[in-house]
């Protein structure tokens, strides 16, 4: 079981959360010309690194907020969590 520190609720069990994927993927800006390649990169292309990965989780059975989590994809160690509006460095 992973234990994820929700920035709003504190340390909670993984079962309360739902995964939302890579948090570093940026949606192309609205109302601007988007090339096919940019759209392709946003929708389909993923780095999926082995090691540190910044990802989105939703505290679905808690405060229902989306949060960012920095986690190791090989050891499952969680280094940092942050509000979705904050940056993880």
């Amino acid at each position: 079981m992973l234990y994820i520190k929700c920035p709003y609720c504190g340390l909670r069990a993984q079962k309360e959360f739902s995964y939302g994927g890579d948090a570093t993927v940026k949606r192309p800006n609205i109302n601007e010309e988007v090339s096919s390649e940019d759209w392709d990169n946003f929708v389909y292309m993923r780095k999926s690194p082995r090691g540190k990965h910044i990802e989105l989780w939703q505290h679905i059975a808690g405060c229902r907020q989306w949060i960012k989590v920095q986690r190791d994809t090989a050891t499952h160690e969680i280094f940092q969590t942050a509000k979705v509006t904050e940056e993880i460095r």
Binding site: D40, V43, S48, R50, E55, T73
Partner: protein, 418 residues
């Protein structure tokens, strides 16, 4: 090569089975090969075998970081099927079914292919309609498919919960009678032994650390056991695809996730064939040893750990118990995990790349084992002829940008959602 038969078994019995030939050698890597296949799993071994057999390319090396049979080819739940709706997937896997049927004879190795059928259960009228549609699509592609009603299912799996109190009553199901299981280790060993016999070097415990690419053309690879020149290189590394792609500055429509499976203690023959639960993600079959082999959802987050967490096992088996209450009386023997190359539409990729001489075989998601022979067959063709075969002409990398997706399950890009 020593042929395996009842006569060779008797002959070797006289020497207490001490004089069997090694099944494959342990060569030191040469400095140059015509083709290097990275990844000694089922698909890599099959690719090397068909390169030698179908295309007479024998100066081939398989580079494996671990050992033969240690990755997903030894970790899957051994299910073989071709019950796909889309033409591209159906034709591809039905060609594979033909290869499976003769595989034991062809490899002179009993892969224990046992076509006892697969039943996908339906738990609503809507699901029955969807299965009728899928069954019709399968039949149009020459694949056997039978729509079962509740009584038909009850005859085949009477031990399932048919009581009135269940949350998801069984309405019926879709059956592919020609689907089944095989012994996964034997598939790896059989391909390895034949490939080795035809001159393929199987190099184990050798990690690829980099690639030599000059002017957009592959020249060779760098490994933990020295540099190896190669005219052509095939990537066939399942869950490790993104790690090698990063070394090539490539980004792919692939995410790596961990999938768990588990087996119970062995019991007497109980379940014939494979059964999948339609109201949750759970599938089950019984091995020849009598263990109930079970699997289901991914853990649901990016992972390169070849092990998972208990909440997922608990979730999967909750579905299992809803379908087969008798499972609550069995002890769990073991659980394990393997890392899956989840593509963004749930279908595989077998294609050339923008680098000349570099070929890609990935995106197998949950279902790589069943496609082992046909994956090797088409990948060998793609490498040898430098062009895709008709069978993998729709399994290309550019289908994502062009919009010709093969999203069999209709899950969109989040194929890791259960």
């Amino acid at each position: 090569m020593q042929k395996y038969s009842v006569f060779s078994l008797i002959k070797n019995a006289f020497s207490n089975h001490q004089n069997w030939e090694v099944a494959w050698k342990d060569p030191t890597p040469k400095s140059e090969y015509d083709v290097v296949i990275i990844g000694g799993g089922g698909h890599g071994l099959a690719t090397a075998y068909y390169l030698a057999k179908e295309h007479n390319i024998r100066n081939v090396a398989i580079i494996e970081k671990g050992w033969i049979g240690g990755g997903n080819v030894g970790r899957n739940t051994t299910i073989i099927r071709s019950n796909f709706m889309y033409d591209a997937n159906a034709r591809f896997n039905e060609f594979g079914m033909d290869l499976w049927r003769n595989l034991s004879q062809e490899l002179n190795f009993n892969v224990m292919f046992s076509p006892r059928g697969i039943i996908n259960l339906a738990h609503s009228d809507a699901q029955m309609n969807a299965y009728a549609r899928r069954g019709n699509s399968m039949r149009l592609n020459g694949i056997d498919a039978n729509l079962l009603d509740r009584d038909d299912v009850k005859k085949l799996i009477p031990m399932a919960d048919f009581s009135d109190e269940v949350r998801f009553p069984i309405f019926g199901g879709l059956m592919q009678p020609s689907a089944g299981t095989a012994r996964h280790d034997a598939v790896a060993w059989g391909y390895a032994r034949q490939a080795d016999d035809m001159g393929v070097d199987i190099i184990q415990h050798c990690e690829v650390t980099g690639f030599d690419v000059v002017n957009g053309k592959i020249k060779g690879i760098r490994t933990s056991r020295g540099d190896i020149k190669a005219k052509k290189v095939g990537l066939c590394v399942a869950g490790s695809t993104n790690i090698l792609a990063e070394k090539l500055n490539m980004t792919l429509p692939i995410e790596t996730h961990v999938l768990q499976a588990c087996v119970s203690e062995p019991v007497k023959p109980l379940l014939d064939g494979v059964v999948t639960f339609g109201a949750g993600h759970f599938y089950i079959s019984q091995s020849d040893k009598g263990e109930m082999v079970m699997g289901g959802d991914l853990d649901g987050y990016n992972s390169y750990a070849q092990r998972g967490n208990l909440p997922t096992i608990q979730h999967v088996l909750t579905g299992g118990l809803a379908l087969f209450p008798f499972l609550s009386r069995l002890k769990m023997l073991r659980t394990w995990g393997g890392i899956m190359d989840m593509s963004m539409d749930g279908s595989p990729i077998i294609d050339k790349t923008h680098i000349e001489g570099l070929y890609l075989n990935c995106g197998w998601c949950y279902g790589g084992f069943k496609s082992t022979p046909v994956s090797g067959w088409t990948f060998a063709h793609t490498i040898a002829q430098d062009q895709v075969h008709e069978l993998n002409s729709e399994l290309r990398l550019n289908r994502f940008s062009s919009g010709h997706l093969l999203d069999e399950k209709g899950l969109g890009t989040k194929t890791w959602i259960g």
